[in-house]
Symmetry: C2
Subunit: 203 residues, 2 copies
DNA sequence: TCACTAAAGGTACTGCAGTTCCGTTAAGAC
DNA sequence: GTCTTAACGGAACTGCAGTACCTTTAGTGA
């Protein structure tokens, strides 16, 4: 066998899957600050040396978890109207952040990103993928004439999520369905008013 | 002297001030994850035992730092128009988050809040104070007839900050002045459309 | 099926964050 | 001033996260 050949098949992949699963569980239970690689190894029934060798730090393990999460993207909605699509997106984000497992996981992952540049990059890629998935909703609305042409679609999608993440991380206010709907309506209203077109600057 | 008397004067206050200053410096330099109480003690020229005894953990030290920060609130603007006031607020937040010291400090403090419930409470109080400071801008706009009566003023103020914090913590997109202005305009447009009135649900 | 070696596993070690213990300093009541 | 004790300080200790080193397992080309 040739020297330096990478072996992704079988065991290696199995170990990665087990460790990422265990890492997710540990993050949900203790949060990122109490994440211990030896504990992850125990849960994954894998040698702790392996975890330290392949990932090195908790932040880089989370970065790998994120690239894994980015691959399982959820499909966007297509309700036929902008507000319907944005509301569907807002409610999806709301449900995710409120869910005890997913919410804890997202919080942990965002914290991890502030500790390591590579993890931050993985997080930004993850959200770039998620946002790109919903961009067509806004582009369709522009084509239907619901929104001014030149509207920055990605910015509209970001505007829907922003108030929900703000509550999760900053203000601590509850994230209920009404909040989600308001976030969708606010983004739609601002887009209608032409706030997200590059040229205009109303008032 | 009576038993159990608290001694806040002189030394105790001096130690607290020195430690909080040192904690801020350390947070800006290393971030919350690499915050070491022994290092803080060294910077503050204070015994490390003292820091461990009075604060115990890094998260609780940050909580104390936050209550200290909440006391030095910045005055709100009064430009005479809603969009003027909101833009002033957005630009203030933008400058704060972009500033290398303040930005790092806010990031660290938000991370710390995810690690300890008491720190989270301190963070939420801090933002409650900051938001309350700007609420009158929106209330004045309602009185001037710029916005529908019944508008949730605090929600409008939160809506201005949300996109900026979303970029800081989640998407990683740059936070420039144009972003700040757009955040202010979006909040104003949504408020105009009646999104932040409890009864209505446009569309 | 065999030979080669990438990758995993086990165990003993080390450094340092966090604790304990006890002596010292100074705030504040009288 | 003087006495009490809250609060600080130094130094030795401990437990565990992270490392080093060597052995074992199993993926893959021939």
């Amino acid at each position: 066998m040739a020297v330096g050949v990478i072996r992704p098949g079988g065991r290696t992949a199995r170990v990665r899957a087990a460790v990422l699963q265990a890492a997710g569980d540990a993050l949900v239970e203790h949060g990122f600050d109490r994440l211990d690689l030896a504990d992850v190894a125990r849960r994954a029934e894998v040698g702790k040396t392996t975890v330290y060798r392949r990932w090195g730090t908790t932040a880089r393990l989370v970065a790998d978890l994120l690239t894994d999460m980015a691959e399982q993207s959820l499909p966007r909605a297509d309700t036929g109207s902008l507000i319907g699509d944005l509301r569907a997106n807002a409610r999806l984000v709301q449900r995710t952040l409120v869910d005890s497992r997913q919410g804890a996981l997202f919080r942990a992952v965002i914290v991890a990103a502030t500790c390591d540049p590579r993890t931050a990059e993985a997080l930004h890629r993850f959200y770039a993928v998620r946002i790109a998935e919903w961009v067509p909703c806004v582009e369709q609305a522009v084509r239907r004439g619901e929104l001014p042409s030149g509207t920055d679609a990605a910015e509209v999608v970001r505007a829907v999520s922003a108030p929900l993440y703000y509550r999760l991380l900053v203000s601590g206010d509850p994230i209920d369905r009404a909040t989600a709907d308001r976030a969708a309506e606010a983004a739609a209203a601002a887009a209608h008013a032409g706030v997200y077109t590059p040229t205009s600057s109303p008032n």
